[in-house]
Subunit: 496 residues, 2 copies
């Protein structure tokens, strides 16, 4: 038994335990083969990686140094007894190894893996091994079993209403912030739209990141319910509500790896939506040469996978394959995208037409889930709610109910215009490159970083005319983004 | 610019940098998105993960706290200037992502990945993503290009002799320590056998682990050459000689993951062997229901992959598909396997027959690379060298030249006999389970831990009669091994 010594060191997501080289309870030099230990105190067990202190200043031989995340999660007091033992590798890793070797996993195996993911029993490299093994091959049944296990791993919201709608885009198209326009339209009509959204995984901004420019998004379940009761809708970050927590663990590894596969996407999205209590769902699959989905076959395959899993979960779904040929709207990055959303809701004359029209189309599909609305009238009703200002008023109500954002978000003060090198017209805009430059510029970490796109596909340009402007906050990041844009701006301009 | 402050904290393999929450040069809270920074001092650049100190005791706002591995690797003095910048993700990760998405990589892409592996630019999860993406699909050309890039990534030994032999087993069979018998036989004949061996990856003992029970194995290149000049052979750990360092990085992730694929195996083995200057190679592929290779098709496929890559590297190779139906010898774990090797070399009456005969067969194949030896006479010559004591004398010479082992290795004092539950005979011995129980017991970390097998396949047993004995050093590990053996001993005993 060692004594807890809290150490004022923030190891971010990772549980790190500091032991003395002379530690009496354990021989740290032999633990180093695996690094991973189980830390037990007051009935809780957590996994942690150890590091070894060579001097007694940090921790004595009878102490266990708990870095901040570990100390917080373990919940034991300073000086309390703590027991350390070498961690037995989670048994479900055997299933991961079989998957790596080409096996197909059943419900039991996937549930065991998901359970171990949720308790953080896997190291990052083990999570990566599982993810990538699934990326190479995963059956529809495996995807369904995985989704069900993920739903079961967390809380589940219930709304006591027969019709709870939601809308989700699989992402990949910079600037595509339709949810923030669709939600107030649909709620203004009277449908329940309790939206839990995610932060960016591999994009320059997630719906939650952009909403956070306008309102607080880190609401717990009670706060979220209060907003929905009052407004019929909310747009909050899902992370506080403990929906499909296994998904959060997977995403925490997918994000730095920049990996996003069809099966994980379906499991991630549908587990979150089912856990959030949605009954009717519109899913937007943008299709384009640099979108996540690049050809019709792939889009149809993904649609069928969504339908297969969704129907078995009891969801009514409509999968919309939309034009993903270029970014939507003009802004890329949280603050710039929020600006576009505002312009559309306020019917500003210069509001991006593509963002407005796509939002109306998607809102129309959702509205047609309403049995009271005649078939084919959804889009007209959506346009009416937008143009009348009803949607804008609803958005203001939602923002007021959620509360003010945690910090002011101003556009980055560093700017750089990427210009056309010749007279001609824009033949192509590469979504992947635009996303990459915007992320290098600092989005979404810096909410004021990103790109403001001045030109769309097919538009004429003159040599020297700006194609887009990079906004940056941090000089390092801004420099990376400039370099990247100079190397390949993501715009293909051809001579007229 | 920050000032270097060495911190007496051993973070094992990982480069960890400690920055103050109030650090003047950087905003640690925004770095936390990626955690990874570049650390520059005196012309060197290293990648490190940051953690954040909340109090000034550990590091001040103008200091960069370098934990021990980072301090050692960077080679800057305390108080020296050090520059910290957010790490730009290695560009070769784009290739990894393409591989995850099903692409085939060319030489350039694989060389870029290998270069970034060697400079530790990849995090463990990124290494895992690369490994597992290759596990799912990798062409023979990719395997060749990978092997060539791995050879180029490190040192290359040259021996100025037309015939430099080596022998390698792909592993998976507990106790299969033939190299330690083959090397002295072949060297006693006069062939050059400069063996660099590995420590265990997923097994209870590697050749280097077992040799270390008898002699020092951590020799640098000059020391290794001196031993080979004197004895015609050596058996050292390859890690000190910087052969195929990319392989070491891959293995450092394969090991905890317990993943070992055909393509990585071929690239790993052949890159090490080619870099070690071998010209003629015997590769042992044990085939059995619980071996690494489980059916003839798989064995043939692996053989062809070895031949494809090896021939393009200019190696003369003989691939031996051997009986992998059960463990070889009686001991499993470094000290117990060393005991078996000694018994065979000393022609002890109770020496394990299977270890002796397999070693003679493999040594015979190697001896037949000698143009002076008539076809078919290799095995007879090998037997002669073993039975005459020439091999034992050669081993003593090698051991003396390499020097004494770093520490005494006694058999573990904790023992537990796993007994048969009924009268009958041993129908099957599960190599994978035996390996797993021996590893749980502490092998290879504890050299004195492991299993001593009393029964072989086909032998009769009585209820209560011991099948094997578990040796342990650490009570925790020993307990795990007992539990696992009670659950499933790895022996299938059926009634007579």
């Amino acid at each position: 038994m060692l004594k807890v010594k809290p150490l004022p060191v923030d190891t971010l997501r990772e549980n790190v335990l500091v032991l003395s080289r002379r530690c009496s309870a354990l021989r740290p030099e032999r633990i180093s083969g695996s690094r991973k230990v189980e830390v037990r105190a007051g009935g809780r067990v957590l996994f942690a990686n150890i590091v070894i202190a060579e001097s007694d200043e940090l921790v004595g031989p009878d102490e266990a140094g708990l870095t901040m995340p570990l100390f917080r999660r373990l919940g034991a007091a300073a000086g309390a007894d703590v027991d350390i033992a070498p961690a037995r590798p989670p048994e479900s890793l055997d299933w991961v190894r079989r998957k790596v070797n080409g096996a197909t996993l059943d419900e039991k195996a996937l549930a065991a893996i998901v359970d171990d993911l949720v308790t953080h029993a896997y190291s990052d490299m083990e999570v990566a091994a599982f993810l990538i093994s699934c990326a190479s091959f995963m059956t529809a049944d495996e995807t369904l079993a995985m989704t069900q296990a993920m739903i079961a791993s967390g809380s589940r919201l219930r709304w006591d209403r027969p019709l709870v709608v939601d809308k989700h885009c699989i992402g990949g198209i910079p600037g595509n912030r339709t949810s923030l326009v669709v939600a107030p339209i649909v709620a203004a009509h009277g449908l329940l739209f309790p939206k839990t959204s995610s932060r960016a995984i591999t994009s320059p901004a997630g719906t939650a990141d952009t909403m956070e420019v306008m309102a607080r998004v880190e609401l717990n379940e009670d706060e979220m319910r209060a907003v929905v009761d009052r407004c019929g809708a909310c747009i909050v970050w899902g992370g506080k509500v403990d929906l499909s927590p296994a998904d959060d663990v997977l995403i925490s590894v997918e994000r730095p790896l920049g990996v996003d596969t069809a099966e994980q996407m379906v499991a991630s999205i549908l587990s979150k939506k089912a856990a959030a209590g949605s009954t009717h769902l519109v899913i937007d699959l943008p299709l384009g040469p640099s979108a996540k989905v690049r050809n019709t076959n792939e889009a149809l395959r993904l649609r069928k996978l969504f339908e297969f899993v969704g129907s078995r979960l009891g969801l009514t779904m409509e999968i919309v394959i939309s034009d993903g040929g270029q970014p939507i709207g003009r802004g890329v990055g949280p603050a710039l995208e929020a600006r576009d959303v505002r312009a559309v809701l306020e019917n500003a004359p210069d509001a991006p037409v593509d963002l407005r029209e796509k939002s109306i189309m998607l809102a129309g599909r959702l509205l047609e889930f309403d049995p009271a609305l005649r078939g084919g009238q959804g889009a007209a009703r959506a346009r009416e709610l937008l143009e009348s200002g009803a949607a804008a008023r609803k958005m203001d109500q939602i923002i007021e109910a959620q509360g003010p954002p945690p910090c002011k978000s101003e556009l980055g003060s560093l700017t750089y215009d990427v210009v056309a090198r010749l007279d001609g017209w824009v033949q192509d805009v590469d979504c992947e490159r635009i996303r990459s430059v915007a992320r290098l510029a600092g989005a979404p970490t810096d909410v004021g970083a990103g790109l403001d796109l001045f030109k769309r596909k097919g538009e004429p340009v003159r040599a020297g005319e700006p194609l887009y402007r990079i906004y940056g906050v941090d000089p390092h990041d801004f420099g990376f983004a400039r370099e990247a844009a100079d190397e390949d701006p993501g715009y293909k301009v051809v001579g007229a």
